[in-house]
């Protein structure tokens, strides 16, 4: 079970949405950035359609009442598991009692918290998504609040241990604000000048925007011909022109029928870009062909495939580390390589504990070959760190892995720089322990 400690009512349980019930007036709902939630699920070995938590532009915290694994994807936000910083697009094992805290997103708009096994609220009409208008689905059909308890699903593919990441679909901190649009039924009724403006100007996302739709501020678009539309089915992505003359883009919680003239439809593969644009930021429309739309779908699928492959490799590596029997010398070598200060092996009722030898300055080595990313702040020379704090990330063929402080200590000297490519075992930096321990002899004996 997950206990919600702090949430705004905009935080909801979502999956990929509810299909097949439009004819009863039930809209799609589902994650605004469906790609990010799918990726989070894949990082954990979940079904990509599993339910997770969508956190739009607000702080959020939860406590775990069971061992679990989580993945953070979507917008860029500071996050901590207790006091350990967690980067975005990252999967991490969680112990019972730990607290995950998210700060409001710095860039982008929607952060996703996926959990191994998924959020196991009951399916309603085929989906676990929250239907806010109908007040069903998700948790009691509403946003989350402090004190809520969310059930966790069982996962037979649950990873043994997680501490790895993947490259986000766009370089860190970037949002794609140009959206590909296919013209719709009433585009031709705009004046020629308005047609040109539609593609040319930046459209500012109004603060009166929400999961149902984004209102766009910009020039008033004139229709060459007034049309009276009969109510017809609409979908997320449809760009409508109400009487005021500035467009609205329908989104995940769109109603199922509308009657405003339709200028275009944002292609399905670009809706996740729109979900990460913040109110006050601007978007532009780019006229897309059918082939563009197909290629965009293929690119999204390829990204998800990469995430899935990286996650499989990371999960397999974690299982292998635990299962393998190793002679002591080999264990010592791995301890050095993985910067572990203590290892405990249990077999047939016996317990073997190995601790690294004391030394004034201890090296932290690369656990894997790859490119060094020092993007994580607060780990420069002279920084005092707690065991488990993120020192750097290494970009490997299989994705990103973490280098964490092996003990409480002080960073003395970095031996590598941002972007360096290093083989496994390279000394990355030197640390000293802030509370020295000597081979299991407690300080009281001295």
């Amino acid at each position: 079970v997950i206990e919600v400690l702090n949430a705004t009512e905009l935080v909801t349980v979502q999956d990929q949405g509810r299909f097949g019930y439009s004819q009863f007036g039930v809209g799609r709902a589902g994650a605004m950035d469906g790609l990010a939630l799918k990726a989070g699920n894949l990082l954990l070995g979940n079904d990509p359609d599993a339910a997770g938590i969508e956190v739009p532009l607000s702080a959020f915290s939860i406590r775990f009442h069971a061992e679990c694994a989580i993945a953070l994807t979507g917008a860029e936000a500071e996050a901590w598991l207790d006091d350990e910083a967690i980067p975005g697009w990252w999967a991490r094992s969680v112990q019972t009692g730990q607290v995950l805290t998210l700060a409001p997103a710095r860039r982008g708009s929607h952060v996703y918290v996926a959990v191994a096994g998924g959020i196991a609220v009951p399916r309603v009409l085929g989906s676990r998504s929250t239907q806010l208008r109908g007040a069903f689905g998700g948790l009691e059909g509403r946003g989350l609040r402090a004190g809520d308890r969310l059930p966790l699903g069982n996962s037979d593919r649950q990873p043994a241990f997680c501490d790895f990441g993947v490259r986000p679909p766009l370089p860190a901190g970037q949002v794609q604000s140009t959206l590909r649009v296919i013209p719709a039924g009433e585009y031709a009724y705009l004046t020629t000048a308005a047609q040109a403006e539609f593609w040319r100007v930046p459209w500012r996302v109004s603060h009166r925007s929400n999961r149902a739709g984004y209102r766009l501020d910009g020039p008033v678009l004139e229709m060459a011909r007034q049309v009276e539309m009969r109510s017809h089915g609409i979908v997320p992505g449809v760009v409508q022109l109400p009487a005021g003359g500035t467009p609205i883009v329908q989104l995940a919680d769109a109603i199922t029928m509308g009657g405003y003239p339709k200028l275009g439809t944002v292609i399905g593969a670009d809706l996740w870009h729109l979900a990460q644009v913040r109110p006050g930021e601007s978007v532009r429309f780019h006229r897309a062909s059918w082939d563009d739309a197909i290629q965009a779908e293929v690119a999204n699928a390829a990204f998800l495939r990469e995430v899935e492959v990286a996650a499989r490799r990371a999960h397999a590596a974690a299982r292998c580390d635990i299962a393998q029997f190793m002679p002591v010398r080999e264990i010592a070598r791995l301890m050095r390589a993985h910067a572990l200060c203590e290892v405990q092996v249990e077999a047939d009722g016996n317990r073997l504990r190995l601790q690294s030898a004391p030394s004034a300055v201890e090296p932290v080595t690369a656990p894997h070959a790859g490119k060094i990313l020092l993007s994580h702040r607060g780990s420069g020379n002279g920084c005092i760190l707690r065991a488990g704090a993120m020192l750097a990330r290494i970009e490997t063929e299989a994705g990103l892995i973490a280098v964490r402080a092996p003990f409480d200590g002080i960073v003395r000297r970095w031996r590598v720089g941002e972007g360096d490519t290093v083989p496994v075992g390279t000394i990355l930096l030197e640390m000293t322990r802030s509370t020295p321990r000597f081979g299991g002899v407690s300080a009281g004996q001295r």
Binding site: G25, R230, S231
Partner: protein
């Protein structure tokens, strides 16, 4: 014969709009078309609207123009399909706190509040479509004397069960949400239950009548 209009809704689907008047006969032909199209390969679902039909793709078709041609051909031969036909009586408390716009509408339409109620509950309304929000029914058959433009300023939250009218339409707000329609009464009739199969109680083709339980004027 007038051609239907077919347009693309991005990568989601195709919209067919029937030519001609908004009539029960035209709507029955849409229902006939819907019955065929929902069985096609590559179609995830169909959404019948007001003399129009939205076809939603299961997967992206290679060439939407071919699917559009097939849809046009299916429309040309679509039979009129009678469906629904069940009758529902909706008990309504007109006026008072739950029908706050009734006096203003009376002024605007030049009718007494009582006459508005009488004209509103006289007809048998045909359910043309269900949509917008879960369980909401688009009703055909409103008395012409009750045609009225929407409110200039929409209400942010219309109550559950609000009996409303605007334009040429009348309808009942099934779950609370924003609305620019005028509210003249309230009902406790249950239109939608997500645990029921089907979840909407009233379906296209059914007939609805409003029955005044109380008139507070």
């Amino acid at each position: 014969m007038d051609e239907p209009r077919i347009s693309v809704l991005g990568t989601s689907g195709l919209l067919l709009e029937a030519p001609g008047e908004l009539s029960v006969a035209a709507q029955q032909r849409i229902w006939g078309l819907a019955e065929q199209v929902r069985t096609w390969d590559g179609v995830r679902e169909v959404v019948p609207g007001m003399t129009n039909l939205l076809l939603l793709f299961a997967d992206l078709p290679r060439d939407p123009a071919m699917l559009a041609d097939r849809l046009r051909a299916a429309w040309d031969t679509a039979p009129e399909r009678r469906q629904g036909g069940r009758r529902f009586e909706i008990p309504v408390i007109y006026g008072g706190d739950a029908g706050v716009d009734l006096p203003e509408l009376a002024d605007r339409l030049g009718l007494g509040p009582r006459e508005i109620v009488d004209r509103h509950c006289a007809p048998d309304y045909t359910v043309f479509a269900v949509g917008s929000h879960p369980g909401f029914c688009y009703l055909g058959g409103l008395d012409e004397r009750l045609f009225v433009p929407r409110r200039a300023v929409p209400r942010l939250e219309m109550a559950r069960g609000a009996v409303t009218l605007a334009g040429r339409q009348t309808g009942v707000t099934v779950s609370p949400g924003p609305s620019g329609w005028h509210v003249i009464g309230i009902t406790d009739f249950i239109f939608f239950d997500p645990a029921a199969t089907p979840p909407a109680n009233i379906m296209p083709g059914d007939v609805v009548r409003f029955v005044p339980e109380q008139v507070l004027v």
